[in-house]
């Protein structure tokens, strides 16, 4: 008879295997009587353990970087920082002086830091597992003990543990481990985040009931439902087998039903291009040209820009590269462009308004570079996107500017081509005007950060109104839907390039809303691709319908969490 234990699903994937219990904390033994401890010798033991642990963490980081993305592997840099902290040395030193051997001094010093972190709550509390990780490393150096062969488990193991530290999780080999489940932990802990990166089925926060699962038992870890099924019956096992894991760095992805969804990357500096390609992006969905203009005394000339666009196109010979024309003003002032002295820069002269106004010459140079880049080998996939559009006239005027640049290039005998042409939907006006705008463009891309800010009249950076500036607000969702709906039944494609697009939790909703392309931070590409591959079209459409029908943010959140149907 199968038993079901519920927890928090960390990955939308399911695995079946044999339970193996993992004990992470080394045994300490009894502290010696105080007079038997030589403080100098113990201090020396602590310091050499610290040096050894530092080497081990660096090696771990190298290894982890092959499987995880950079931001995640950086967790180990934080561990080195914890290890070398002056307060740690002080806290351990004081305990050694009071007569404790090094391992007990380390254990108690960390207990105090862990307590303080957990007492602070929030993101500080989430770092407590990092402290435990560093502590365990030090203790292993001091008293020996290994990780119970975590990296070397029999194929088909399901790891059960009280908790898994980041380095424990990073050691799990996705080819051998079928999944893991832990007594403690939440969705945003490193163990859960790493599991998503590794594509490893995982359920965390199962609670004490997990202890009743004996080693050797057959279990199913269902990360989608957030369930551990003990002694599964044939039907449960079969359902689990159909849920194959996907390779994250393959070429284009489709939903489970085969609907193609482009997953492109946002590029905000030159280094992002290589990162985007490394992470398997299909192309560039938002090339922020501002970085070409910042930190210098004068704008880049036409040739310099041409080279930058050509390089982006050459990086993705088969992929689309969406270049957004210069979007300065607002929070992105560029001194040499003589920023307007607007009382409220977010509602002042920024984006396309400057390109059609005081920066018309800069816009013309940019268009010349873009049209020339469109004529290079990979140039056929270039798209030009206008920021902060609010009227049809702006689109018409920008199109005319492009046509006159084309005529000038033609007259000069220069090679050029007309790129795909589109607009960002990031103002309420653009969302409301989506129907007429679509008649003038080849694509629209919804910038959810600015759209949420402008629709809700709530600054993104202001914590006091953070709940308002949230794309899960019904007002924002309906604006997004309106923009996407305008493209249906036309050749115009619809993308999303705000932070919302990079959150795999939002993927089913966005696909359900009818989005064709998601543009995300390079490091988020693999997880978004994986999320896309798990989307069921009907379920996503149904989810979107219910989210659109919701009247409050709370209802939207409940629909997304699956806590209401």
């Amino acid at each position: 008879m199968p038993r079901r234990l519920s927890g928090v699903g960390a990955t939308r994937a399911t695995g079946t295997g044999t339970a193996v219990w993992y004990e992470s904390e080394p045994e300490l033994g009894d502290p010696l009587a105080a007079d038997a401890v030589d403080p100098d010798a113990e201090t020396e033991r602590f310091e050499s353990a610290r040096d050894a642990a530092r080497g081990a963490i660096r090696a771990e980081r190298e290894r982890a970087a092959e499987q995880l993305d950079d931001g995640e592997a950086a967790v180990f840099d934080a561990h080195v920082q914890f290890l070398q902290d002056p307060q740690l040395a002080e806290a351990v030193g004081a305990r050694i002086e009071s007569g404790l051997p090094a391992e007990h001094a380390v254990d108690r010093a960390f207990a105090e830091f862990v307590e303080r972190f957990e007492g602070t709550g929030g993101r500080t509390a989430e770092r407590a597992d990092d402290l435990r990780d560093v502590r365990d490393r030090l203790l292993r150096e001091l008293v020996g003990g290994d990780r119970g062969d975590l990296a070397d488990l029999p194929a088909g193991s399901v790891v059960l543990a009280e908790r898994l530290t980041p380095s424990d999780t990073a050691r799990l080999d996705p080819d051998r481990v079928a999944g893991f489940a832990t007594v403690t932990g939440g969705r945003t802990a490193h163990a859960a985040i790493f599991a998503r990166s590794l594509g490893l089925p995982a359920v965390v926060g199962v609670g004490e009931g997990l202890h009743d699962v004996a080693a050797g038992t057959e279990v199913v870890v269902d990360g989608t439902e957030g369930e551990v099924v003990v002694d599964p019956d044939a039907a449960t096992r079969e359902a689990a087998v159909g849920d194959e894991r996907v390779d994250i760095r393959t070429a284009p992805v489709t939903t489970a039903e085969g609907t193609p969804i482009e997953v492109a990357a946002n590029v905000g500096r030159r280094a992002d291009l290589a990162a985007a390609a490394d992470h398997g992006a299909d192309g560039v969905g938002l090339f922020r040209t501002e970085f070409l203009f910042l930190d210098r005394a004068s704008p880049p000339d036409e040739d310099e820009q041409y080279e930058a666009y050509r390089e982006a196109l050459a990086t993705f010979p088969d992929g689309r590269v969406v270049v957004r024309t210069l979007d300065v003003g607002g929070d992105k002032p560029v001194e040499y462009l003589d920023p307007a002295d607007d009382e409220n820069p977010f509602l002042g002269e920024r984006g396309i308004r400057r390109s059609l106004g005081p920066d018309a010459d800069v816009f013309e140079t940019q268009l010349r570079a873009l049209l020339r880049a469109a004529a290079t080998d990979a140039g056929g996939r270039l798209s030009v996107m206008l920021p902060l559009v609010t009227t049809v006239e702006e689109v018409v005027a920008a199109r005319e500017a492009m046509e006159s640049v084309a005529a000038a290039l033609d007259a000069a005998g220069e090679a050029y081509a007309i790129p795909e042409f589109g607009v960002m939907i990031e103002t309420p006006a653009a969302a409301l005007l989506a129907d007429p705008l679509v008649d003038h463009v080849d694509f629209v891309s919804v910038g959810t950060n600015d759209l949420a800010q402008y629709v809700m009249a709530a600054a993104r950076g202001n914590r006091r109104v953070a709940d308002l500036a949230d794309p899960r607000q019904p007002g924002v969702l309906r604006a997004i839907r309106r923009a996407v709906a305008a493209t249906e039944g036309t050749d115009v494609w619809a993308g999303v390039c705000g932070e919302m697009a990079g959150d795999p939790e939002m993927t089913p909703l966005l696909v359900g809303l009818g989005v064709d392309e998601l543009s995300v931070a390079p490091a988020a590409v693999p997880r978004v691709k994986r999320a896309v591959s798990e989307v069921r079209d009907d379920a996503a459409r149904d989810l979107a319908e219910r989210a659109l029908a919701a009247e409050t943010r709370e209802e939207v959140v409940a629909v997304l969490d699956g806590t209401v149907s």
Binding site: A78, R123, G461
Partner: protein
């Protein structure tokens, strides 16, 4: 004693990369640097344990105090870290 008061801009607050950079910068300085929420206790800015323990989040107002060689330059740099969004936008 020179000091700065800033509202924390990075989404991560003083966690993750901004926290690490902040602590590194304070540790590398010859000045003695302390940080805390405005109105709260100050802690050693060169200690990641102490700074993480503060639980500084995006939008919080913090006070940074420095004393000694290069105090002003260190404060300028720390203020820049506190007021620069992570993704450089």
């Amino acid at each position: 004693m020179p000091e700065r008061i800033a509202t924390v801009v990075p989404e991560d607050g003083l966690h993750a990369r901004p926290g690490a950079t902040f602590v590194e910068t304070a540790a590398e300085s010859d000045a003695d640097v302390q940080v805390g929420h405005t109105g709260g206790d100050l802690v050693n800015a060169a200690s990641i344990l102490a700074v993480t323990g503060l639980g500084v989040e995006h939008g919080d107002e913090v006070r940074v105090v420095a004393e000694g060689e290069g105090a002003e330059a260190t404060l300028d740099e720390l203020e820049r870290i506190l007021t620069t969004p992570e993704d450089g936008r």
